[in-house]
Symmetry: C2
Subunit: 331 residues, 2 copies
């Protein structure tokens, strides 16, 4: 296998998060399913924004957040995703590059705006997301640069890409280029509702195309339609080379084929906003895996990154993750 | 005097803050004067933004921040300022309304963008501001609604408005409407460099048109070109009905004509980002003054609001100021 230029290249939605606080009643009034991501149209996103209190804007996007985390660990990361030529598009492009991630997808001048996600944070630190995808899924085949895909050890894809046919096509194309080049294909299941929407296709992917599956407890039990984490874990272990399953405060479990599952504890932390917990766990794990660390160390790097990101508002790290990992003796 | 609909109406620049962290070397490299606000053109703001690390976007603007603070105390506040029909303009309008401030200035569709301020926060919590005014100063006479001005007990104006002729004309018009209606005119000197740019006009305003002067130590010593705070204070006391002078950690001094100056201590706090300290002090003071509290109580409300805003990134309060004031037995 040829040498890699990047540890990981990610493909995902390019989103700016609009973060505000609210109580549970507000979620109920606006029909927002607590703890989940729902897709909304332009009209709904405007109406909900109007009803929200003052907000803060920060770059987001699930796989984009992961790439920023990998760069913060000192990893070489690239991102492919679509923004528009508007203020939000400029914010997204600036922030991901400023974080040290290679990002060269050209912005669209079609007039369709950059994707935005209204993140409603309740006093318990849980986040409920309302995403207007805008131009984000409009990633055509030409923008999934085969050379870039082949130049990375791992390609990381988000399940959310399946929510629109154009993005799904880009996903499939990227996965096939990576497989042909002998690279690893990693998939995040993204969200329990997202799994509901695409269960059949996700099962097919997990069984046939994915080397590293990343999912939380809700997502993996939804994928296999089972009622316990243990049953889901058995299925995942049978279906994939490597399944990395996160369980919030209960930590995570890494299931490799023909091995005992490895349990990794969560780091104790004062939770402010859980947005980005899974994305940053994936950053630590994929960075560790790409650099040849043991599965246990990779998982512990994931726990460090997740703990950092849930200790503040926003889904990207505010502290240098390599320094945090060194302080724990892991780098 | 007729009854008021608003406690305070503010006129100022309508700005979105783009906040990032940097070290002192970065400021030096980019010629940004530490602790001050400088005006930059479109090209400079782009170049500096490119060089900055990842950022967070939040609504700002000096007098706009003050109005949000007044609303957070439970006061009735209105704001007049100009944004464009772009993402940043929508952010500004959303946030100030969501904070409970009346804001009805129509957005511009000229193509000139909404004002933005690159706020560089150094590890000591000091902030250095680089402002591209964009459409903000384009506030024509028709947009300074005389009825709105007359409906407020106090009109609050920022010195920054003098940086562009159109905004200065709006300032003068508003001050004259307020004076004719028997309302109080309050002025913030905004920044030491701003005072340098407009000293002669500011002195004339302070002596002839302003009822309440709000300034920090750098601004007031610059206005009178004296080398000690005490000398500046004597001048201010002679020139204005009421001078409210802030001194960072040393607290503030309120100088009313023919009275001993009143010293107000600062509240102890862990400083994260001083952006908005003066704006929020003004919010507490003006709210207290408008509601007929003693000068000492008004000053203490200012200290509470300033302490809240410097304990986190961003120039607008994250906690309810009325609750904080009640906890101190002041409301």
């Amino acid at each position: 296998m040829s040498e890699t230029k990047f540890d990981v290249v990610g493909i995902g939605n390019a989103i700016v998060d609009i973060i505000g606080q609210c109580n549970d009643d507000f979620l109920a009034q606006h029909g927002a399913p607590k703890g989940h991501m729902r897709l909304v149209d332009a009209e709904t996103v405007s109406r909900l924004y109007e009803a929200m209190g003052p907000t803060v804007e920060v770059s987001g996007g699930s796989v984009a957040n992961t790439m920023v985390g990998i760069a913060s660990f000192g990893g070489r990361a690239a991102f492919i995703g679509k923004v528009a030529e508007d203020d939000f598009g400029r914010i997204f492009a600036h922030d991901i590059r400023a974080a040290g991630v290679h990002f060269s997808t050209p912005p669209s001048s079609s007039g369709i705006p950059t994707a935005r996600c209204l993140v409603l944070v309740t006093p318990d630190g849980e986040r409920t997301m309302n995403t207007y995808l805008g131009i984000s899924p409009d990633l055509d085949d030409g923008e999934v640069d085969p050379e870039l895909i082949r130049s990375a050890g791992i390609i990381f894809l988000e399940g959310y890409l399946f929510d629109r046919p154009e993005a799904k096509a880009a996903f499939r194309q990227a996965a096939s280029i990576a497989a042909e080049a002998g690279r690893k294909v990693a998939l995040s299941l993204s969200d329990g509702f997202c799994v509901d929407r695409h269960r059949k296709e996700f099962l097919d992917l997990v069984r046939n195309s994915v080397d590293i599956l990343i999912a939380n407890e809700t997502e993996i039990t939804s994928l296999y339609q089972v009622d316990t984490f243990e049953k889901a874990m058995e299925h995942a272990q049978a279906d994939t080379e490597l399944a990395v399953l996160t369980r919030s405060a209960k930590g995570s479990v890494i299931c490799a084929k023909s091995r005992e599952p490895i349990s990794i504890p969560a780091m104790p932390v004062n939770v402010v906003d859980v947005t980005g917990a899974g994305d940053l766990y994936a950053a630590g794990f994929l960075f560790g895996y790409a650099r040849g660390f043991s599965l246990e160390t990779a998982g512990r790097l994931g726990s460090i990154a997740a703990a950092e990101v849930i200790s503040h508002f926003g889904a990207r790290p505010q502290k240098n993750l390599a320094e945090l990992a060194r302080a724990q003796g892991l780098l």
